[in-house]
């Protein structure tokens, strides 16, 4: 099945792309990043019934379901030739990641691994190696799925998105960026240029992302959780009890709401307290209470809410361990 007909434009500079977009934006114009989501969505699908979601409302119906493409495109604005959009720049107190940086670039970046470990976890678990080689960070964020593997850690790490248009640039928190499944505050003439993370000079900090899924690759999270914890003093192992007074904590959840979900209540519950099993359990309970998952073929709402509690507990432990060790091993 070949793709529907569309036109293609690939400028080599961001300014060129923005001027073009200012003139041509409107229905039928789509921005092409790595194409690993968009080129799937422009294709129609024929799905045998036994492969359709096992939800109540899908139980009847024809044996073969034909789905029209979910995206209809007249012209693609391809960003792949704009070299300034790809790369990871480390500055004195921040890291800037270009929107066209591939997921593999994130996975291989030493600064992402050490300073943005939660994002590193997310990058390592997104799709498959082949998807990660083409798929871009900006694409994963702008596609705005509630379970996006780089979005949840970006939210926990307090990533700020720089949106560019011919009118200028504006910076928004990731928590304000996504408005619904697949929907963002991006104006039709805007392009996501980069994501900025502040590098705070705390005595110790740790971040992590955990994903619950049925298999290790090519999977969408049943539930996922990310956290970033900073400490007033470096944590220490005190007779098996977790120690270290929490300065700040941000906890974000995936696949439990129409958008990636920041749970400020759960993070605030930890501030000024020792990060021990009691405070961790308390934060996890709060997060589970705020989550509002749905039931679909990946999991039931009740199961998901229970798993939120488990995942938040584990992800906070992992933050603590990383802050203690000062190194990053794969979160288990």
């Amino acid at each position: 099945m070949i793709l529907p007909r569309f036109d293609y434009y690939a400028p080599t500079g961001l300014d060129e792309a923005l001027s073009w977009l200012a003139e041509h934006h409107g229905s039928g114009v789509k921005i092409l990043g790595g194409g690993t989501d968009l080129l799937v969505d422009v294709r129609g699908k024929i799905i045998p019934d036994q492969h359709r979601p096992r939800c109540q409302e899908h139980r009847d119906g024809p044996w073969l379901a034909r789905y029209a493409p979910t995206e209809s495109i007249e012209i693609l604005l391809a960003l792949s030739r704009i070299t300034e959009l790809r790369g990871i720049a480390v500055e004195v107190n921040c890291v800037r990641i270009g929107a066209m940086t591939t997921i593999t670039d994130l996975e291989r970046s030493p600064v992402v691994r050490t300073r943005l470990a939660g994002l590193w976890d997310g990058a390592r678990q997104l799709g498959s190696p082949l998807v990660r080689n083409r798929g871009t960070y900006g694409g994963n964020l702008c596609n705005a799925r509630p379970a996006a593997d780089t979005a949840i850690p970006t939210l926990a790490l307090g990533g700020r998105l720089v949106l560019a248009s011919i009118r200028g640039e504006r910076t928004v928190d990731h928590s304000d960026f996504v408005t619904g499944p697949g929907e963002t505050i991006l104006e039709p003439d805007e392009i996501l240029k980069e994501v900025v993370f502040d590098l705070a000079n705390d005595p110790a900090m740790g971040s992590a992302y955990l994903k619950l899924s049925n298999r290790k690759a090519l999977e969408i999270a049943v539930v996922s959780a990310a956290a970033m914890v900073t400490f007033n003093s470096p944590p220490a192992e005190q007779g098996g009890i977790k120690g270290g007074v929490t300065k700040s904590a941000r906890i974000a959840l995936g696949a439990v709401a129409p958008t990636p979900l920041l749970v400020p209540e759960a993070g605030e519950a930890l501030v000024g307290k020792e990060l021990d099993s009691q405070s961790i359990s308390e934060a996890a309970r709060i997060a589970a209470g705020v989550a509002r998952p749905i039931t679909d073929h990946r999991g039931g709402d009740e199961y998901r809410r229970m798993m939120v509690e488990v995942l938040v507990r584990r992800v906070l432990m992992s933050c603590w361990e990383r802050a203690l060790a000062g190194t990053v091993e794969e979160a288990a």
Partner: protein, 160 residues
């Protein structure tokens, strides 16, 4: 409307007129007749269409031909030296890592890129690298063994 693009495929420069909607997999198979690249799912789930773009394993079903203008593509046809198979291909044959063969071109190319990066991978590293290439005959054990054997063969060849 068709546009003319130039790209290098298996070391040969070529000029092809393609529609913007043409994927790289279609360009290779239908315009260049290189049918070694298989189209399985067309949505990036199976990895059968894997080719190397500038050495990076990529899903050619999810890459537009226009996007590879000026790039260097390696398909399975570019691996053998005349009638002499690449050591990694030999390893797949000897170990019995080929059943129906549909996933093999993608498996071999993904494994080749792994061995370029990491000449002596562990079993876990091999399985992780190949996690986007599905084998519906489920011959994964032999495939992993073949990659190990290929690694050994390539090392030997380098020494001699």
């Amino acid at each position: 409307m068709k546009r003319v693009i130039t790209l290098t495929v298996n070391g040969l420069s070529c000029e092809v007129a393609v529609e913007p909607r043409r994927t790289l997999a279609e360009l290779l198979r239908y315009d260049l007749g290189l049918t070694g690249t298989k189209i399985g799912c067309s949505i990036g789930d199976c990895g059968a269409c894997t080719v190397l773009i500038d050495g990076v394993p990529s899903l050619s079903c999810l890459v537009l031909a226009m996007e590879v203008e000026g790039r260097d593509i390696l398909t399975i046809e570019g691996l053998a030296d005349g009638l002499k198979l690449h050591p990694l291909q030999e390893a797949f044959v000897e170990v019995g890592a080929i059943q129906c063969g549909f996933c093999t071109p993608g498996m071999v190319l993904t494994a080749l890129a792994l061995l370029e990066d990491n000449p002596e991978p562990t079993e876990a590293e091999i399985r992780r690298a190949l996690s986007g290439n599905l084998c519906r005959c489920t011959g994964y054990q032999k495939i992993v063994e073949a990659v190990k054997e290929g690694s050994r063969k390539i090392q030997l060849e380098k020494k001699s």
